[in-house]
């Protein structure tokens, strides 16, 4: 397997680990992490760092409350794990089957139908909620994505194959994050390409550390 050249920024990985990302973007980032040993190691370091930082301070809790909570936990039933859709190892488009990493496979049951678009393109929406949506996009050989603009950020992950734009070429595992000012025109050449793409609201990933303190709900603003 060729080496992955393009990775999520450390800021994105920190937001992934701390649970601050739009859930659809978290799936795209998580799928990259499944494919990328480098980012798995970085994520592990971030977990250690955040855990140490976030669980360093203590808040005083009144003794009777603590004791009551402890007793209640010791006599509790094991929490039930909610039913969830089965993990799918593959996604299928007509006669083609693509192996997908577990972070995507856990959500593949939510995939909508493929729709064929002009120019050798197929698209299937994958919705986690009304505000959290991504697309699987398949570009056949020698296809070109129509010129498009997006108001927010765009994250694209190559699941299988290779595509090009005016800047570079992108292969399995490559993760490309563009903000609204950046434009590109993806196309394929001799090889086809399956990507997972996320489009975000215009608001996010613009401010610095303060964003970590934003109320969670603002992430869902569109």
């Amino acid at each position: 397997m060729s080496k992955i050249k393009f990775h999520p920024s450390e800021e994105l990985l920190v937001n992934y680990v701390s649970g601050q990302l739009n859930a659809a973007l978290a799936v795209v980032v998580g799928t990259h992490i499944d494919m990328c040993p480098r980012c798995r190691a970085v994520v592990h370091d971030i977990e250690v760092h955040l855990a140490t930082r976030e669980l360093h301070q203590t808040s005083p809790v009144a003794e009777p409350q603590l004791t009551a909570m402890l007793e209640s936990i010791l006599s509790s039933e094991a929490p039930a794990m909610p039913e969830r859709p089965a993990l799918q190892e593959h996604v299928v488009l007509e006669s083609k089957s693509f192996k997908v990493p577990p972070s995507l496979g856990r959500h593949a049951a939510r995939m909508g139908p493929w729709s064929k678009m002009p120019g050798g393109l197929w698209r299937s929406p994958l919705e986690l909620s009304a505000e959290e949506r991504m697309y699987l996009i398949y570009m056949q050989e020698n296809a070109k994505l129509p010129e498009h603009t997006h108001r927010g950020n765009e994250a694209t992950l190559v699941i299988d194959g290779v595509f090009h734009d005016e800047h570079d070429e992108y292969r399995d595992g490559d993760f490309i994050f563009l903000d609204s000012d950046q434009h590109h025109t993806p196309h394929t050449a001799d090889e086809s390409c399956l990507t997972l793409a996320f489009l975000d609201a215009p608001l996010h990933f613009t401010s610095g550390v303060a964003r970590l303190l934003n109320p969670f709900s603002s992430l869902f603003f569109r």
């Binding site: 680990v17 701390s18 649970g19 859930a23 978290a26 799936v27 998580g30 499944d34 592990h44 977990e47 250690v48 955040l50 855990a51 140490t52 976030e54 669980l55 360093h56 301070q57 203590t58 808040s59 005083p60 809790v61 409350q65 603590l66 004791t67 909570m69 402890l70 209640s72 936990i73 010791l74 509790s76 094991a78 929490p79 794990m81 909610p82 969830r84 993990l87 190892e89 593959h90 990493p101 577990p102 972070s103 496979g105 856990r106 959500h107 986690l128 909620s129 959290e132 969670f216 709900s217």
Partner: protein
């Protein structure tokens, strides 16, 4: 029942021995988790609880700005620690990191619960921490069951006895890894590593043949 004496021990322990948090090494916390997993030790859990509850409370208060919701997070997190301690694996990280990831997931779910959604994703779908079948390398357990049912019969007899036994119970008798661990009296981690090795071997055998 042994509930009464156990409780007395717990109380006695709480009123007399109070470890300072600074003494809590990852190794010691890991031993406490192992005791909870193996013997359901209330004493070991109480010590974990005394260490982590005030830390989680502080974390959750910063997150929610609401003391009651913060207490809910503490209770839910530590309830999972009490019941799922066997899912902790020291090779993957420290107890503090593991408990932080549980709290992170519960925070995510609490925030979404307020949004009243149907069929909503839960944190476990995004960051599996407590799902038993996902608690080891995802890749290794994701062998297509259709392949298994159709083709396993021809190959699994070639596995070493220890691996064959585990594969038989999981894929033919349909037991969970935890049930296999209980039946055979071997640790869950051993069941997982044997399953992993067996699946690797099966994949090799199947692809050699094709």
């Amino acid at each position: 029942m042994q509930v009464m004496p156990e409780k007395r021990n717990t109380r006695q322990y709480m009123s007399t021995v109070r470890r300072e948090p600074q003494e809590m090494t990852a190794e010691h916390l890991g031993q406490l988790l192992a005791e909870v997993a193996k013997t359901r030790s209330r004493v070991a859990f109480s010590e974990l609880f005394r260490h982590f509850a005030p830390r989680l409370q502080s974390f959750a208060t910063r997150q929610f700005g609401n003391e009651q919701t913060a207490m809910d997070l503490v209770q839910e997190t530590m309830t999972n620690v009490w019941h799922k301690a066997h899912l902790f694996s020291p090779e993957k990280g420290s107890p503090t990191t593991w408990i932080f990831t549980i709290a992170r997931n519960i925070r995510f779910d609490i925030l979404r619960k307020n949004r009243h959604r149907q069929n909503d994703v839960s944190a476990e779908d995004l960051w599996p921490v407590l799902s038993e079948e996902m608690s080891d390398s995802d890749e290794d357990f994701a062998l297509d069951t259709r392949i298994l049912l159709q083709e396993i019969g021809e190959y699994y007899l070639q596995l070493p006895d220890a691996q064959r036994e585990v594969v038989e119970q999981i894929y033919i008798e349909g037991k969970s890894q935890q049930e296999v661990s209980d039946t055979l009296g071997i640790p869950l981690g051993t069941v997982k590593s044997r399953t992993r090795l067996a699946l690797q071997k099966l994949r090799e055998l199947i692809s050699e043949q094709n």
